[in-house]
């Protein structure tokens, strides 16, 4: 009786402590949100104190400073096109890689997987020369191609292991009914790929939206710059007040947070994908 009571109390206590621990962990984030809603004078008076009045002024200020409207649209366009091209090209490639069991296809697969451990820094300089020669510097197309190339290894890895887990019976039946490879892919395989596609999409969208290096190097035209590049080049964190710094940081993640609210189940699944199976 007493031991049950003791266990229950210590269990509740543990849960409370765990909640507090989690809270401490995300405290910098909450602090960012609260501070960006305060006035500069208020923050200067007591950086950690409770806000006396809330204002959206900091956000409108940061909005103009990092040219948010234009750069958010640019980032959205680049992220959307990259996601589309990675999923289409990646899923198409995974079908033969999963189904054709021959020496050459194993090698092609390995070549793709190799790419998962190649840091972009290793190819960035030669890629710059290549893009310059192809006249693709300063173009959305160039950036989308680069994102496609560097994310294809992950897409191929995700899709191929997923297609391998789909039984071949359905496809054989379709083949006997006279379905070609193309039709089999579109009517049978593609619809089955939906869950892994949303997982992959959240992964890729996070990568592309948050990336600094590729747009910094390959997009010089101010009109084409992304949110991260503008935030990086217009705001120096060492001289700037938190009331300018924090709203800028929040504006950078706002669209992702909104998407996350709708897709959180897939995001969590996507982030932990592969851990159980491997």
């Amino acid at each position: 009786m007493i031991s049950t009571l003791w266990r229950r109390t210590s269990g509740t206590l543990g849960t409370v402590l765990l909640c507090l621990g989690t809270l401490t962990f995300v405290l910098p984030f909450l602090f960012t949100v609260v501070t960006s809603l305060r006035t500069a004078a208020d923050v200067a008076r007591s950086p950690l104190g409770f806000p006396h009045s809330l204002t959206l002024h900091n956000f409108t200020e940061a909005f103009g400073q990092i040219h948010y409207g234009r750069s958010a649209l640019n980032t959205l366009l680049i992220t959307g096109l990259s996601c589309l091209s990675i999923t289409v090209i990646g899923s198409l490639a995974s079908y033969p890689l999963a189904r054709i069991t021959q020496n050459w296809s194993t090698w092609v697969y390995r070549l793709f997987i190799l790419g998962t451990s190649v840091p972009i820094f290793v190819v960035v300089a030669p890629l710059y020369l290549l893009m310059r020669d192809l006249n693709l510097l300063d173009s959305y197309a160039g950036v989308v191609i680069i994102y496609t190339a560097i994310n294809l290894p992950v897409a191929v890895f995700f899709y191929t292991s997923f297609v391998r887990s789909i039984p071949v019976d359905l496809e054989e039946a379709a083949a006997l009914d006279g379905c070609g490879a193309l039709r089999t892919f579109f009517t049978i395989i593609l619809p089955l790929l939906r869950p892994i596609t949303s997982t992959l999409l959240t992964f890729v969208a996070l990568q592309v939206w948050n990336d600094l290096l590729v747009p910094l190097v390959f997009l010089q035209d101010p009109d084409k710059r992304t949110v991260m590049v503008n935030a990086y080049s217009f705001i120096d964190p060492h001289t700037v007040q938190p009331t300018t710094l924090f709203p800028a940081a929040l504006l950078g993640v706002l669209p992702l947070l909104l998407i996350f609210v709708f897709l959180q189940r897939h995001v969590v699944a996507g982030m932990s994908a592969g851990a159980v199976k491997s």
């Binding site: 621990g21 984030f29 198409l92 079908y95 948050n210």
Partner: protein
């Protein structure tokens, strides 16, 4: 019939092979070649063999950057996975709050590295959040210029990395926990095993695959860190947070030492490939033995 089918199927690979080959494999090969030239990025380049590599070996900045990169990765891998594992094992025992808290822990992961660096550059500032907090707690003696001191800067930058991705490690460990058969845990509970005993002899071995994934991912991720040192310290103070990626960026896009920068990037590639394949094969060997 099946022959033609297979040919069509193989054709599906074409777009992927073209893009991956032209924009990943070709630049990779060209980079290795350029690292053996005196290229400045223009059309003229002479083959100079291992000259850039010899210059690299003689350059204390490169040796220091290599050491910073490896040390940074070691700190991040240990701290991030330790924290992730701690949160995951505590959350696993509390199914009621598990889902909500694991989602909350993931929010820093959504913040981009640039934005996380913005937030923490204020928190680490001399008059910033952490020192103010220490002041409020009466721990003034611990106040510090975190990013301005050569002895703490690299660890401060690593802490931001850990903060951002510990929730991610936690999510992967939790997924690993979900694959532990419940009857195994029940049996251990019936046998009267304590919480620590259950963790040590049942959960920890079952988490081996999750550990392999987590360590490999965090190792590769931290070896190629760029945005954190760039935004937080720009390599300073006195080069204390200069990593290999920072050297690549600075030499290739501004230093006029194009080929040298590419040679540093090849060093980065070798470091990543050697360390990550050694670690993951060791961990897989361990998985099999358990």
């Amino acid at each position: 019939m099946f022959h033609r089918r297979r040919a069509t199927m193989a054709a599906f690979l074409l777009p992927a092979i073209v893009i991956y080959g032209a924009f990943m494999l070709y630049p990779l090969a060209r980079g290795v070649y350029l690292s053996m030239t005196d290229s400045l990025g223009g059309p003229i380049a002479n083959f100079v063999g291992t000259e850039q590599y010899r210059a690299m070996a003689d350059d204390p900045k490169v040796t220091a950057a290599l050491w910073h990169t490896v040390l940074y990765a070691a700190v991040v891998v240990v701290a991030q996975n330790g924290l992730g594992l701690l949160f995951a094992s505590l959350l696993f025992r509390r199914p009621k709050v598990r889902k909500t808290l694991s989602v909350v822990l993931l929010t820093p992961t959504l913040v981009s590295p640039v934005m996380a660096a913005f937030i923490w550059s204020y928190l680490f500032a001399p008059e910033g959040g952490i020192n103010a907090l220490l002041g409020v707690l009466g721990l003034d003696s611990l106040q510090h210029v975190w990013l301005g001191d050569t002895s703490t800067a690299l660890y401060a930058v690593a802490a931001v990395n850990v903060w951002m991705f510990a929730g991610y490690s936690c999510a992967i460990f939790l997924a690993g926990y979900m694959s532990v058969p419940t009857d195994l845990l029940d049996a251990a509970a019936v046998d009267g095993a304590s919480g620590w005993q259950r963790f040590r002899s049942v959960e920890w071995p079952m988490l081996a695959p999750a550990l392999t994934v987590n360590v490999t991912l965090s190792l590769i991720g931290s070896l190629k860190v760029f945005e954190f040192p760039l935004v937080l310290t720009n390599g300073g103070p006195a080069g204390a947070t200069d990593t290999l990626t920072m050297l690549v960026y600075r030499n290739v896009f501004g230093g006029g030492k194009f080929a040298f920068g590419i040679a540093v990037s090849v060093l980065l590639l070798v470091t990543v490939v050697v360390l990550s394949s050694a670690t993951s094969s060791l961990l897989r060997l361990r998985e099999r033995r358990i």
